[in-house]
Subunit: 450 residues, 2 copies
């Protein structure tokens, strides 16, 4: 990579700016909305992730000389448009769901208000971040909900693009994973990192015992030894011989896990290693984790399936112009209206209706909130309903994320990542029990438009 | 992102180095191999992609002060290991399949030879690149093979991580796509870029005619107008009214495509716009492209399904230690041997056996090539067979990619990307016709070990 992130975008975002600047429509104040028309096939809920990364990327979004020069040389836009791009800084407002929030079809996840030109330029970047991160978080949340409190580690870096891997580790952490193998995610986002050794380390040595000795000498007996390179039973025996009964954990990466795990637990107990934990890491997904709910597994490592969204590698979010001013300054709601992919025009906010047990019952999308910014009138509505009695409440879902180009700092960096993880935990508490069924089905709560 | 790419790796790669340095095994000369145990479910062949990116990343792989400081502060490895990492430069040899080559289960795609420590450190990075890029290229090649020569554009940037998007555009181009929407892929890899306008541009204007006029003024009548914002028939009529019969193309992004495309072609011809092309871009994949083989479509734009590998977002490649020297300097073949995920130990090279019509019939993996580096004895074998008569030939598949840390420049940058695209075209020519059936089935040719 050379230069800034400005060219992480589709060419048509810039050609639209070019044409709009020429026709005099570029400065029309506009509202764009990112939402998912539907959940991935069979899913009951989604988890919003990427918001903190998105805010950071938008704040830093600049066209520097190398980008401008490349656009000029390739005649992507006219020279006048290059001048406009050179001055580009997003100066508008963004509202949206808190990172870590649950979402449903039609939930207005991100609302961007600014001039048409400054808001349209961000489309590709916003969707790239939200679609990938939310796909990973939505899959990871399902895994987390069936792990029954046992720690989950994300180790899918090798199964996704080298830079996606960082985002995947962060999204999985937000969705309830406890650690990652990815060191850059540790550095950039503060996600705890883990990992000890692979089969190659055992094969490098003249014997399994040599390898285990080398590892214990370097990492201490509290390490995790990988015991399935040759024969698991022999591997476990050797591990305890070498490390003693204080060995931290054994890792199993192959075999029929329910059987193998039970055998290894029995063997460890017989050897007196009653506190030695068992970690499993063999092509796991939410279904295999659930199938191990009765097994004495102490921790799970998940690779491919979490980093690729467990069958749904993109969350399917779109970014649509829903309102813009006309020349007289009046707001006009807009939406595509031909046969398919119809959208609901108008600025929106949203509340989640909770019953007396604080269980979510309905996603209410309030259309055409008019001049009131999302998250402002909504808060009042929620309080008013709550004051009327504890039987039902409406929780406001849309909060300000950026004001006049300045992001809400709370969502940025490692602190923002932790905040998103807390938000996800709170949002999961509210979902009805049907949301956690792994089998295919409808969204756990209906979305209605008010 | 701050700093170098050194932390795009799993923690255990560094803890293995740490333990091996301490136990004295780190310098054992080793051979690692990247391969796929199987093709993704139902696929007939795969396309290798990412090699050029991988060589570049390996060449630049360095631990700079910020990375070393983070590793120190987080106690990932011992101080002595930090010194080793500070001096890290890969100085070994790499052989592998040419980028763009077809591959099958067990094909030795990349072979890395160096000290254990210097080769193991690259595992995560090599697999991240190969697994994602090859997943995209393998899906894109299927789309390319059913497009019957009509141009394909990759436009999936918004459906994958913002940095993956660049790699996806490159991989799709290698696999036969003609252009991408992604500007950074244009800048970094020389992939032609395309794109004009989205529905938002039409909705921004007071009428569809206003929007089309603005676009034609900015981009000229040879542009592509998106005609399905309101009503397609009206959109086509307006497009020709505004741009004239010299309009470059209309784009259709929704509706029942075979019907809609036929209607639009008829309408364009009746209006005299006989040279105006029709581009379709509505949630396409290889099956929908094939279903349009009889329709008057002139170009396809593919998004989600190409950038996410059309159901298989990771190619499933692994990186295994297959041989290493012992203390006496003798080579020892090694492989995991417990119940599952068994590997074939030993250094390998490979040839593709072709019949008299130069159609591929067998992938021959030659195990334990001994001291001879892959790609050296293989070349001789191929020539000898060819000299014996034209009835069968064996084409050598493994070539040197890096010698003593210096990459073969031909595979780097935009030139390397073009070379890979040519290689892919040549490899496709050789595949038996069964390889191009879209339905699920076995690998098109068997892999045998010699």
């Amino acid at each position: 990579m050379t230069g800034s992130a400005a060219l992480l975008t589709d060419r048509y975002e810039l050609t639209m700016v070019d044409a709009a600047l020429q026709s005099g429509t570029a400065e029309r104040e506009s509202v764009f909305e990112a939402f998912a028309r539907r959940l991935p096939e069979g899913r009951r809920y989604g988890v919003v992730a990427g918001t903190g990364r998105m805010l950071q990327l938008i704040t830093e979004y600049r066209f520097d000389d190398p980008e401008l020069e490349w656009l000029r040389a390739n005649e992507v836009v006219r020279p006048a448009t290059l001048d406009w791009l050179a001055d580009y800084r997003f100066s508008g407002d963004i509202w949206g769901y808190r990172e870590g929030e649950a979402y449903f079809p039609g939930s207005p996840l991100v609302t961007v208000q600014g001039s048409f030109a400054e808001a349209v330029v961000l489309e590709t970047l916003i969707l790239s971040v939200l679609n990938y991160d939310s796909a990973v978080a939505s899959a990871a949340a399902r895994m987390s909900s069936v792990a029954l409190g046992r720690p989950l580690a994300e180790m899918g870096s090798r199964r996704t693009n080298e830079r996606s891997a960082i985002a995947a580790a962060r999204a999985a952490y937000i969705a309830g994973f406890d650690a990652t193998s990815n060191l850059e995610a540790g550095r950039t986002w503060g996600v705890p990192t883990m990992g000890t050794a692979a089969h190659a380390f055992t094969l490098l040595h003249d014997s399994e015992a040599d390898a285990f000795r080398a590892q214990v000498e370097a990492m201490g007996p509290d390490t995790t030894l990988l015991v399935d390179t040759y024969d698991i039973e022999r591997g476990v025996a050797t591990a305890i011989e070498v490390a003693g009964t204080g060995l931290g954990a054994v890792r199993i990466d192959s075999g029929d896990l329910p059987t193998v795990v039970a055998d290894v637990r029995r063997q460890l107990d017989e050897l007196g290693a009653v506190d030695t934990r068992i970690t499993v890491t063999s092509d796991l997904d939410e279904f295999l984790i659930a199938a191990l709910s009765g097994s004495p597994v102490d921790a799970f490592g998940v690779g491919t399936r979490v980093a690729t969204g467990s069958g749904h590698p993109a969350a399917g979010m779109v970014y649509k112009l829903v309102a813009r001013r006309d020349d007289a300054g009046a707001w006009v709601d807009v939406a595509k209206s031909s046969a398919q992919k119809v959208s609901v025009g108008g600025r929106k906010h949203a509340v989640r209706r909770l019953d007396g047990t604080r269980t979510a019952r309905e996603e209410v999308v309030i259309v055409d909130a008019g001049e009131a910014a999302p998250g402002e009138s909504g808060a009042d509505a929620a309080e008013a309903t709550e004051a009327a009695g504890r039987s039902q409440t409406e929780r406001d879902l849309v909060v300000p994320l950026m004001r006049a180009g300045v992001p809400d700092e709370r969502w940025l960096g490692p602190d923002g990542t932790r905040l998103a993880r807390e938000q996800r935990a709170a949002a999961m508490q509210e979902l009805p029990i049907e949301a956690f069924r792994l089998g295919a089905g409808e969204a756990a709560i209906p979305t209605t438009y008010r």
